[in-house]
């Protein structure tokens, strides 16, 4: 419908502007704490972008993990490390860096704009008909069934309108424990390793002070 798609476009460009604006503040701002907060703003913009792209679960995970946790971690780091109070000086090779970044951008943009993406406009009629009506047609011909999403039988998953999986959470869950179960477990191990490694790295290297028990008599001050 016309108004939903113009609103989607407005939301998309708004979220992109927020993301890219805050990203520019991150790389140009001298005060590191402001850069950390701008980074959190950029992450929030990316989260909104995921919502616009109909990836709700990924968007919520982005806000929960990046904005809620990693941004606080960065703010803590900035608050602890006192050297950054002087700000972050720009480095000698800035122009070369900018040129390289522009080259990377040109290469990726050229590739993206010149590729012939087979998008959802060209999928087959059966899929198109099923996807735009809000329910999935499972089976062909006389045996078409309309199936509803539920966790009972994850082999029959609803694909709602617009050709994208709006209720993607259960499908992602099934993906994680069926097709990608090895990656899932390895990520768990990786996070445990990161946790233990981080704790070891920040452990205080000074020896522990002697414990004074209460039974020792103390010399009274003279």
């Amino acid at each position: 419908m016309i108004e939903v798609s113009t609103l989607t476009t407005v939301a998309f460009w708004g979220a992109s502007a927020m993301t890219l604006g805050f990203a520019l503040i991150v790389v140009t701002q001298r005060d590191v704490f402001r850069a950390a907060i701008a980074l959190a703003g950029s992450f929030l913009g990316v989260g909104i972008l995921y919502f616009v792209l109909s990836a709700e679960f990924v968007g919520v995970v982005q806000i929960l993990v990046y904005v809620g946790a990693i941004s606080s971690l960065m703010a803590f780091a900035v608050m602890f490390i006192q050297d950054v109070k002087a700000g972050s000086r720009p480095v000698q090779g800035r122009l070369v860096g900018a040129a390289v970044a522009v080259l990377i951008l040109a290469a990726v943009a050229f590739t993206a704009l010149n590729t012939d993406w087979s998008t959802m406009d060209e999928i087959s009629d059966q899929v198109a008909g099923a996807l735009t009506e809000g329910y999935v047609q499972v089976g062909t011909g006389d045996e078409i069934r309309i199936e509803k999403v539920g966790f009972t039988d994850p082999d029959e998953v609803v694909v709602p309108n617009g050709g994208v999986l709006v209720d993607s959470t259960s499908a992602i869950g099934v993906l994680l424990v069926r097709e990608y179960v090895l990656a899932f477990e390895i990520i768990g191990l990786l996070l445990v390793a990161a946790l233990i490694g981080g704790l070891l790295l920040i452990r205080d290297p000074k020896p522990e002070p002697e414990v004074v028990t209460g039974s020792e008599k103390r010399e009274a001050p003279v």
């Binding site: 939903v4 679960f57 539920g150």
Partner: protein
């Protein structure tokens, strides 16, 4: 228009009256609306007007609720302390919070000299925005919500975690060491209690089969407070800690830190922080009602909004009761409770609920009762076991034996040479030489 939009009766009323019957199979005409006011090409205007109207209604409703809550809480404080509470302005003192708001707005806005101005001004906004945003997914009655996200529960957790950043910004931009110290304690508290809070809701999500709050309300044939007692216990405690309310108000312990990270905020900026805390209280009560008490479910002749409101007020009363009754916990006690106590309870809850859901994937009402009957003994035993684990070993028995005197008595003799007895001026000169 999308079926999900048309289920929302607030949306439907405004949009369909404005835009009229439009294209699509689930359209306004199917719900009995004739042609709308606006001409055919302007559905986006109808969308925008409907959206702004609904959001405005919700935000104003919440602000009004906060005003009433501030008054109600102060009156309840008074009753708990056997005094009256505010009773000057308006009948029963109902306009007290209005007077408070006006007074706050007229105070001078002080900004510290070394403060980072942009961040200093942004911090109250960063604190208030998540508090309001949470209300976007909560259903206040049948078809009365702003959006019914498929990931509603996780959205609430995600948005609730934005307050840590606001606390850090507020403290850092105040350029004040006490504020930063208080902010570290506050953030340690907030991040420690996010995990039990999120994990406690996993049981509810498993029972309802969806993270959408509308689906969860509809799945509560019996309220989930009966079926998930451990989750209720953990969620309630964790939510009170997330709001930084007593008994967890170590961040603003007035005798210790003098308003903590909010130290340098004056007038309306402090008012915004204050507002954010009360909005968080209402939103927590609303979430508790929706997830555990059955939301707007009730019996028929009385409208659903009334049931929601009644349950909300009940939960608010319990929260205020807790604040008035329990003493403040120390920061190490608080963190110990989160990591050693509540975390284990949530894991036990998840395992037991997963086993029960494995047996009955889509539970009917009778099966929910059986699950409740299984969960309550498990909950009581787990809470008892965890309380033994946390223990009171660090705190000595105050009166070890009955013969001991109640007042402190010195058990060691202080050496005489250490004692300087101030006597009359004539003696002091001779005594000082002996020290």
């Amino acid at each position: 228009m999308d079926q999900a939009f048309l289920d929302n009766s607030l949306w439907r009323n405004i949009y369909c009256n404005l835009a009229g019957g439009s294209t699509g199979s689930a359209s306004c005409a199917a719900h009995g609306y004739s042609e709308g006011i606006l001409p055919a090409g302007m559905e986006w205007l109808a969308f925008a007007i409907a959206a702004l109207a609904i959001v405005g209604l919700f935000v104003n409703g919440i602000l009004g609720g906060v005003i009433v809550l501030i008054w109600g809480e102060r009156r309840l404080f008074g009753r708990f302390q056997t005094r009256t509470g505010p009773n000057r302005w308006g009948p029963f003192g109902m306009l007290t919070s209005v007077a408070d708001a006006i007074k706050t707005m007229f105070k001078e806005d002080v900004v510290p000299k070394d403060a980072d101005r942009i961040l200093f001004n942004m911090a109250p906004i960063m604190m208030t925005a998540p508090a309001v945003l949470v209300f976007a997914v909560i259903p206040f009655g049948v078809g009365t919500y702003i959006a019914d996200l498929n990931v509603g529960v996780l959205f609430i957790m995600a948005v609730g975690s934005l307050t840590t950043l606001a606390v850090l910004t507020a403290a850092w931009s105040s350029a004040n060491r006490i504020a930063i110290l208080s902010a570290f304690r506050a953030v340690a508290l907030l991040i420690s209690y996010e995990i039990p809070m999120a994990l406690a809701l996993v049981g509810v999500i498993m029972l309802a089969g969806s993270m959408s709050l509308g689906q969860i309300v509809q799945a509560q044939a019996i309220p989930f407070i009966l079926v998930q007692p451990l989750a209720v216990f953990v969620f309630f405690i964790a939510a009170m800690a997330e709001m930084a309310r007593a008994p967890f108000d170590l961040t603003e312990a007035e005798s210790e830190l003098a308003a903590g990270y909010l130290n340098d905020y004056a007038s309306m900026k402090f008012g915004l922080f204050f507002l954010a805390e009360f909005m968080a209280e209402i939103s927590t009560s609303a979430i508790f009602t929706v997830l555990f008490l059955g939301g707007w479910r009730g019996w028929d002749p009385v409208p659903s909004h009334f049931w929601f409101g009644a349950k909300l007020i009940l939960v608010l009363f319990v929260i205020i009761w807790f604040r008035m009754t329990l003493p403040r916990l120390r920061v190490d006690q608080v963190l110990k409770l989160a990591w050693k106590g509540l975390f284990e309870l949530t894991l036990i809850n998840i395992v037991v609920t997963a086993v029960l859901i494995g047996i009955w994937p889509e539970p009917t009402t009778n099966q929910l009762w059986i699950m409740a009957a299984v969960n309550w003994p498990v909950a009581i035993i787990s809470i008892w076991a965890v309380s033994k684990l946390l223990g009171t070993s660090g705190y000595a028995d105050p009166l070890p034996d009955a013969d001991a005197p109640v007042y402190p008595v010195a058990t060691e003799q202080i050496p005489a040479a250490a004692v300087h007895v101030p006597s009359s001026p004539g003696n002091s000169q001779t005594q000082q030489g002996g020290d």
